[in-house]
Every structure is written in structure tokens, then in C-alpha cells.
Amino acid sequence: MAPFKIVQASDTAVPVKCWSCAVAQNESTLFCSTCSKVQPPLRMDYFQVFQLPRILRLDVDVLEKEFYRLSRKLHPDRYARATESEREWSLADTALVNDAYRTLQDPIRRTEYLLKLEGESIGEEHSGKVSNSRASRVPSDLLEEVFELNMQLDELREGDASLRSDVEAAGQKFEAMLDELDSKLEAEWARWDEGDATARSTAQKQMVALLDRRRYLDNLLRDVKKVLGA
């Protein structure tokens, strides 16, 4: 695993005292590091929930074990005789842990989430705000092929079975493009995890572009599978 680089989140830099034993916590945490009492849900990002630095290559098995460990520690049975506040916090923390696990265990969602934390707008959030950079983000070489395949899918849906083999071939081609793209993405994860600030900034831009392209391929392949499977 890559050497850890701790990225300090600016909005959580203020030390918070444990409500129970009043010992100040160095960082946002679900449980007090001194008395182990559950803490109210604070502004914590998903990496902080698992006490991880912002890295992209995570061992999902380790993450899963940690998820189960935290879930057990937060289980309602453990809070049956706790104060009402603690019961509420443990529930809220459980929801946070669930969301964090769901996002981080999927490499693509993890990447999108990290890019958002780093200030990028992802998916529909672009909202056409940045009209200058917009054109450069559209993968124009893909457009023709994407459009053509969509047309064939439409005709296939309407019952023109002769197109089936064409669509299958196109599907395989796009599948291969997706594989190629994913290996590029993996290289950027490494660059992010191991690089300095400059490398990270480059990796960040590359990842945004790759994810844009990936979304096209992903949507298309989903449709291909739906039509062929029908």
C-alpha cells in the first residue's frame, strides 16, 4: 500500500472536546479516544469516518472489516441503557458509517467523492456554469459512435433483430474502451496517492476528464445490456 499522506480538512481543524470526559479530540471521530464514548455526529467526511487519509487505492477487505467493527460498536443494543442523546448519536453515526462505506467501497464513487471534496463539480452539478471549459470536456471523438449505437439500439428495441450482432459487436468494443479507461484511471489513482501537490493537481484534472468519458460508456453499456438481455 502507498505511503499515507495526511490531508487536513480545514473545516474540522478546530479541536472538539468529548462531551463526557472533556478530553479534546485531535480529529473528528465517532468515539472519544480517551473514554470511548460515542460522539455526536460532527462535520466529518467519509475518509475521516474510517480515519483514512484522502487516498484512492483502498483495501476494500480492510474497509469492510472496519465497517463491521464500527457498525457493531454503534449497534442500538449497546445503547439500550445509554442516555437519549447517546442513542440518537449512535443512530446518526450509523447512518454516516453506512453512507461512508457505500461510497468508499466502490472505486468510481470513491473517486467522484474525493474529487468533490477537492472542489470539483461532478456529474449533473456542472450545470453549465463553466461555459468556457465545457467544450473541451466533451469527448467529441466518441459522440458519433455513441449516437450511432443509440440509433441501432432504438431500432433493435423496435424489433429489427438483424441489428443484434452489430450491437453485440459495438457493445464489446465499448466494453474494451471502458477497460482501457479504467486502467488509465488506476494509474491516476497511483499518481494521486503517491504524488506531490503538482502531481495531485494533474491527476485531479485527468480524473475529472476520465470520469466524464466513463459516464458516456457506462450509460451506453447499460442500455446495450438492457436491450440485448430483453
Binding site: 468556457n132 465545457r134 443509440n150 468519458r213
Partner: protein
Amino acid sequence: MAYSEKVIDHYNNPRNVGQLDKAASEVGTGLVGAPECGDVMRLQIRVNPETQIIEEAKFKTFGCGSAIASSSLATEWVKGKTVEEALEIKNTEIVKELALPPVKIHCSVLAEDAIRAAIGDWKKKNGVAEAAEAAAAH
């Protein structure tokens, strides 16, 4: 999120779906995509070479209801306009007409891009002065 009645109307009864002969000199084709959601949109115009009036417009969009409605509306609006007038259409007008929510604004941007791309293609085919194109650009 609920779609506005106008979006639903355009989605259920899209205007001007289809295609024009891409190879014809009086036809301009714009093919654009939205990286936000993976939508693709093709908008085509047929321009009267004498009057420069857009006499016919067709579209085909693969995407969400808002993208379909935006392109449907765009074809309605460009028809009967001159090429230069059509370039004046702004995505914000589409947003207003269709009451698009913020997360769907990019659909209207896509439609505006498609109009520009179609007109740009027509100009290129017909050797219309670059100056006019540059002036019309953002």
C-alpha cells in the same frame, strides 16, 4: 424531482423528431454531448440559401426528459428564424420556458450548443464569412 408541464408535454409529444440529409449543402448538422449525464443530441437545420431562413429543423436526442424537451423546443424556436437570429437564442430562455430546475440547466446548454453546432456546420459547408461566425461566438 417533478418535471414541469411543458417538459412533460415536449417529452410526450416531441416536435420535429427525425433527420435531414446530412450530405445536402443546405443542411447543417450539430452533434453534441453532455459530459454531465452522457446525453447525446443531434440537431439539424435546413436553410433556404436565398433568404437564410431556417425552414426546417429536426432533432434526435438520447437522454433525459429535460434534454429531449430542450431540443424539441429548440427546433420549434429556430424554425422561421434567419441563421443570425437563431444564434441569438440563449439557453437561459429555454430554462425559463421549460422551468428547468438548476440540476437540469446543462440540458438547455446542450440545446444551445446544438443550435450553434448545426449553424456552424451549415456555415462551413456554404463558406459563410468567418467574421460573421466569430462575431456570433460567445
